[in-house]
């Protein structure tokens, strides 16, 4: 029985609770990351997903353990939605050997091959060719796998994006392109960088099904992703979702946000994906404020435990510096 079918068999209310908890996990994790970064406990570039949680959470509902994910440098949400253990993600933030990338990657390079989570790619657009190749391998082996490839609106300006749209459509590859259109490529607004700002229209010009989705509504994202993945599995070739979303926080921790109005941010915050789902559930009598607080408290405890574990975890010895450059069995 497919995972989607399992979901249908469960109560819709229980499913919504799962979605809410998933989004809350990502939000709470990243709120903690802000604290840890400010306290000087974690370092480097940290790109927050706050505001965009519905996208990772919704898309993941359509995927099975045999599917693949290729992600970007703003990937904490994708990794947690995929089920990477909190300890391993937090360990990576701390650069410890318990991290999902053994501490070598940091915030931008979360990997977990056992969960078919292929990064954590920080060259904008650079993950798309990898997704093409993973999908090609699945197609050549006819194993039914789908590759979900996340990227932002910024990637649409890269040549690699267009090469990959063409290849995926030409070779009829099982890829779900998930374009997280949060309206800014770092500080450059979509309309300042693109002559045609309808991104689904541009993807559609390559001959694949492509449509915009309200990326602030987790149920809408889930519905779109499930129907796209179903079509891909049925041999319908690549699909493209333009997930219209917004990041509430700065591009990274260094960004003074000179390029957008505070009013705009506040307007989008009214559409907070967590608040929206919680409101729906409250109206349906599925959720009380006490439930919400209890869930937040439980997640905070879990994250605090992961932080304690990461603090206590061993740092890699300097003698191991050149490990992982070549495989140990390399000739």
């Amino acid at each position: 029985m497919s995972r989607t079918a399992t979901k249908v068999a469960r109560s819709a209310a229980a499913h919504r609770r799962d979605l809410l908890r998933q989004m809350l996990l990502i939000r709470t994790f990243e709120d903690k990351c802000v604290e840890l970064y400010s306290a000087g406990e974690i370092h480097g570039f940290v790109h927050l997903y706050i505001g965009e949680e519905a996208v990772a959470t919704g898309v993941n509902q359509a995927l099975t353990a045999d599917d693949n994910i290729v992600s970007t440098y703003r990937e904490h949400g994708h990794a947690l939605a995929r089920g990477l253990p909190l300890d391993s993600v937090m360990g990576e933030m701390y650069g410890k050997t318990t991290g999902c990338s053994h501490g070598r990657g940091g915030s931008m390079h979360l990997f977990d091959v056992s969960r078919r989570f292929y990064g954590g790619n920080a060259i904008v657009g650079g993950g798309l060719p990898l997704a093409i190749g993973i999908a090609l391998a699945d197609k050549l082996r006819a194993n039914g796998g789908v590759t979900a490839c996340f990227f932002g609106d910024g990637a649409v300006a890269e040549g690699e994006f267009h090469e990959c749209m063409n290849l995926a459509a030409l070779w009829d590859l099982p890829v779900l392109f998930c374009c997280e259109n949060n309206l800014y490529a770092m500080g450059t607004a979509l309309e300042r960088a693109h002559a045609q700002t309808d991104l689904a229209l541009r993807a559609g010009s390559y001959g694949m099904a492509a449509w915009p989705v309200d990326g602030m509504d987790v149920l809408a994202v889930e519905h779109a992703a499930c129907s796209a993945v179903e079509a891909i599995r049925a041999g319908g070739g690549p699909h493209f979702l333009e997930l219209r979303t917004y990041r509430f926080r700065a591009h990274s921790m260094y960004d003074p946000e000179l390029y957008r109005d505070k009013g705009e941010v506040e307007e989008w915050k009214k559409r907070d994906p967590i608040d929206q789902l919680a409101a729906t559930m409250r109206n349906g009598g599925e959720l009380t404020d006490a439930d919400l607080e209890a869930a937040r408290g439980e997640l905070t405890r879990e994250i605090d435990e992961a932080i304690a574990a990461a603090r206590a975890a061993p740092a890699e010895p300097v003698e191991d510096l050149t490990r992982f450059v070549y495989s140990p069995e390399s000739s």
Binding site: F111, G133, A137, S331
Partner: protein, 328 residues
């Protein structure tokens, strides 16, 4: 036990290697521009489409970054792709994928994502195809930890390096010098895999080491013949593997001859020749009886006219002159 010798060319040896790989390992496929119906822009893969079909001899659009990256993704997912790039100049369109992904993923993922990918490409000048099809940029690639770089200069290496490269868990780049495809000679009928770690002594000698690789091996051997008529006995070392370098073979030869001339078609500044020279200084300084000499490509984008192109390339007389200076 000697096997029957068969006449062949570098191109045919490479094709035989591709055929063997496709026959022996169902995970292997060849992908690149015009590798299928056209038969390869240098006719290396001619006939393979008919034999193995379009899934395994996969023509691509002119999208170097996408199809090199697709090779990386497929390799990560368990396939054994061979990606062909028409020339090293075009590989720059895929440099992001080679450097930021192929060479980096294993490390960035803490050892999880090895990339067993082979990338073949043509390199080098000599065919009057001017400044965007003629360069020798393999030295640039040797700068990158995480990849291996090979330069088959002989029929045996054209036949044998590919299979060994495919057994490697990490990315391997194979540079085929464009002037070598028509090189002919004889190979044992059962020629097969060769090691991809060691340099080879192509001509033993005692007075000076001519250290080279790829397209200039023949030039260095011609220089050695010329030197022999003057009574200078030159040893010719074929590096074969440009990353990693076989330090022992280099210093072993210098310990014997006490003089080194490095021949490299790449531009002199920041060249592979500079790296080899530095290693000799670091590891064999006290063995040297003369300063290390370098004969490199002239620092100019490759000109079209034949006389200027030849003037830009390492020639046997310049190599011999450098060797005579070293011998004193």
């Amino acid at each position: 036990m000697s096997s029957e010798m068969v006449k062949t060319t570098y191109r045919e040896a490479m094709r035989a290697a591709l055929r063997e790989a496709l026959q022996r390992d169902h995970r292997v496929f060849l992908m690149g521009e015009d590798v299928g119906r056209y038969g390869g822009c240098f006719a290396v893969s001619l006939g393979l489409l008919e034999e193995f079909g379009p899934e395994r001899i996969r023509d691509t659009p002119l999208s170097e970054s996408a199809f090199v990256g697709a090779g990386i993704g497929a390799a990560m997912a368990g396939m054994r792709p061979i990606v062909e790039i028409m020339t090293v100049n075009f590989s720059l369109l895929a440099l992001d994928q080679i450097m930021n992904n192929a060479a980096t993923l294993l490390h960035m993922s803490g050892g999880q994502c090895n990339v067993p990918l082979v990338i073949r490409m043509t390199t080098g000048a000599g065919r009057q195809v001017a400044a965007q099809h003629s360069h020798s940029l393999e030295g640039w690639y040797t700068h990158i930890p995480g990849i291996k770089v090979l330069a088959p200069a002989t029929l045996a290496d054209a036949r044998g390096m590919l299979w060994t490269a495919l057994q490697d868990p990490d990315p391997v780049l194979i540079f085929e010098h464009g002037s070598l495809y028509n090189m002919s000679g004889a190979l044992p009928a059962d020629a097969g895999a060769v090691d991809i770690r060691s340099a080879a002594v192509r001509r033993p000698g005692t007075d000076v080491s001519l250290i080279t690789y790829g397209g200039t091996l023949g030039t260095a051997l011609a220089a050695a013949d010329a030197l022999a008529t003057d009574g200078v006995d030159a040893e010719v070392i074929d590096l074969r593997s440009l990353r990693p370098l076989d330090d022992k073979a280099i210093t072993g030869s210098v310990a014997k001859t006490h003089r080194a001339v490095i021949v490299d078609e790449g531009w002199r500044t920041g060249s592979l020749a500079a790296e080899v020279s530095a290693r000799i200084m670091e590891q064999a300084f006290w063995d040297l009886d003369a300063p290390v000499e370098r004969v490199c490509g002239a620092e100019v984008p490759m000109p079209y006219p034949r006389h200027l192109e030849q003037a830009a390339l390492p020639q046997a007389d310049a190599i011999a002159a450098a060797a005579r200076r070293a011998v004193g």
